[in-house]
Amino acid sequence: MATDAAPQGAPAGPGQDARDDLYAALGLEPRASRDEVERAYRFSLELYGEGALGTYSLLEPAEAEAQRVRVCEAYEVLSDEQKRQAYDAAQGFLPPETPVLPFPSPKHSRDAQELPEVLTGAELRRMREARGVSLRHIASVTKIGLRYLEYLEEDRFQFLPAPVYLRGFLQEYARLVGIDPRRTADAYMSRLAPKR
């Protein structure tokens, strides 16, 4: 894995999406949250990993290697607040997390006290419904598949993605429902068997 950024200059060939900025390298839109950058980075590393099922028959080894370099370059800038600010400014992108917004105004402080140590999917659903937020809305804003959100509320752990992504899903969910993202994720995931 080439983690050192730069010298050969990763080819941003015309074979990719029309956009060839650093966000596109991770499959992101500008304004992506820090968490999204984190998850997209992990996903992209797996996507271009040596022998990865999803790409090995599509990309030559050298192409996959170039993509890995590019992903690392993108991550190096986008995960660093200052570098990212400078990059966004140079490209004319809006700053991260410019609201696409959650419609009920988040009341973090109050809910932080309400949140129990352990949260079930049913409890999440109750909170969501009490605030009148539809799963469809969450899915359309976050690009998380509606079915994953249903699995989440139904506690169907075997269908949910790996913990690193699940944590992200929970935080996005919580953000849109207007409850504390980190505590929600912790409380929900506390029920997962440690072997996961």
């Binding site: 797996e46 790409t55 598949g145 790996a162």
Partner: protein, 320 residues
């Protein structure tokens, strides 16, 4: 010759209700396409749709077996060979209300090579069936016939299993279908030649991906470039990953969608996955469909969710 939409659609669409053509392809044999077709069709019928399953796997038809039916008296080959006049005459009822099937012809290899006009006749009559959904099991391979059925579908489902050979065939299938579609809209010989060249991955033009092809065509002829771009945008294969065993297998669908977007310039989506489930093969051995034989099995539940998602046009998102 490619089957153009204008050849098939005139008149056919003018009539009453909007029927949808769904198809399931995948390039490789033995990945459960027929079972997927049978079970998705079964579920659609359960949801109140009037469904006809078409076994277009003319070389290795076995859809009827998946549905627990004996070898049919009449098959699609009888229609293609004009031994019957109307496609209605080769329809067989199944045990499920609302679900009928048109069997393929295991005995007739030549049917897999049907001629252009025969194909138009099949497509027209399939479109004219008085049903809500026609679901076509395309069988293995990437022959022109298979690609044309896939391309003319309202919902094009691409089945894979988490194995290198299947994924490789899946990509080959997508690329072949896409290039065939692009070739069909090429407005002149120069553009067609570029499309043909692009099909060979080691072509001298240096075109490696569909996106590069479109860029090249745009350079030559802006109008053609726009036409190709429109075709690319309307080509939206939906992946189904069958026989998954763990979270990493499930994630492969997300990888495929990401790779199609980033490297082929295609907007694919991940419709769903179905776990490897012993209930499925136990039912197959009893010559029953697991949807009715083991309705509480994990696979049956996943087919129900997958089908609901396909009906509503929902997918699993980008997965991260």
């Amino acid at each position: 010759m490619a089957l153009s939409v204008s050849e098939v659609l005139p008149g056919a669409g003018a009539a009453t209700t909007r029927r949808q053509i769904w198809s399931i392809g995948g390039g490789k044999g033995g990945i459960g396409k027929s079972l997927l077709a049978a079970s998705i069709g079964w579920q659609l019928a359960r949801m109140g749709r009037r469904v006809v399953l078409v076994d277009a796997d003319l070389g290795g038809a076995n859809l009827h077996t998946c549905l627990g039916l004996p070898a049919p008296a009449r098959t699609l080959a009888d229609f293609i060979q004009r031994r019957v006049d109307s496609i209605d005459e080769v329809l067989t009822d199944t045990q499920a209300p609302g679900l009928r099937v048109i069997s393929g012809a295991a005995d007739l290899l030549s049917a897999a090579n049907i001629k252009h006009l025969q194909k138009v006749r099949v497509m027209n009559q399939v479109r004219a069936l008085d049903v809500d959904v026609v679901l076509i099991d395309l069988g293995a391979g990437t022959s022109f016939n298979i690609l044309d059925f896939f391309l003319l579908s309202d919902v094009s489902i691409l089945a894979v299993v988490p194995e290198p050979t299947s994924i490789e065939n899946g990509y080959r299938f997508i690329k072949s279908a896409l290039y065939r579609r692009l070739r069909a809209v090429a407005s002149n010989d120069a553009v067609r030649e570029l499309v043909d060249a692009a099909l060979d991955p080691r072509n001298l033009e240096g075109i490696r991906t569909p996106a590069e092809l479109v860029a090249r065509v745009e350079n030559e002829d802006a109008e053609s470039g726009r036409a190709l771009r429109r075709e690319m945008a309307s080509f939206q294969p939906r992946f189904v990953v069958n026989e998954v065993r763990d979270t990493a297998d499930v994630a492969i669908g997300h990888q495929l969608v990401a790779a199609c977007g980033r490297h082929l310039g295609l907007r694919a989506s991940y419709a769903g996955f179905v776990h490897h489930d012993d209930a499925v093969w136990r039912a197959v051995r009893r010559r029953r469909l697991f949807m009715s034989d083991a309705p509480t099995s994990r696979a049956a539940e996943e087919i129900r969710q997958l089908t609901r998602g396909l009906v509503k046009g929902e997918d699993l998102g980008h997965g991260y």
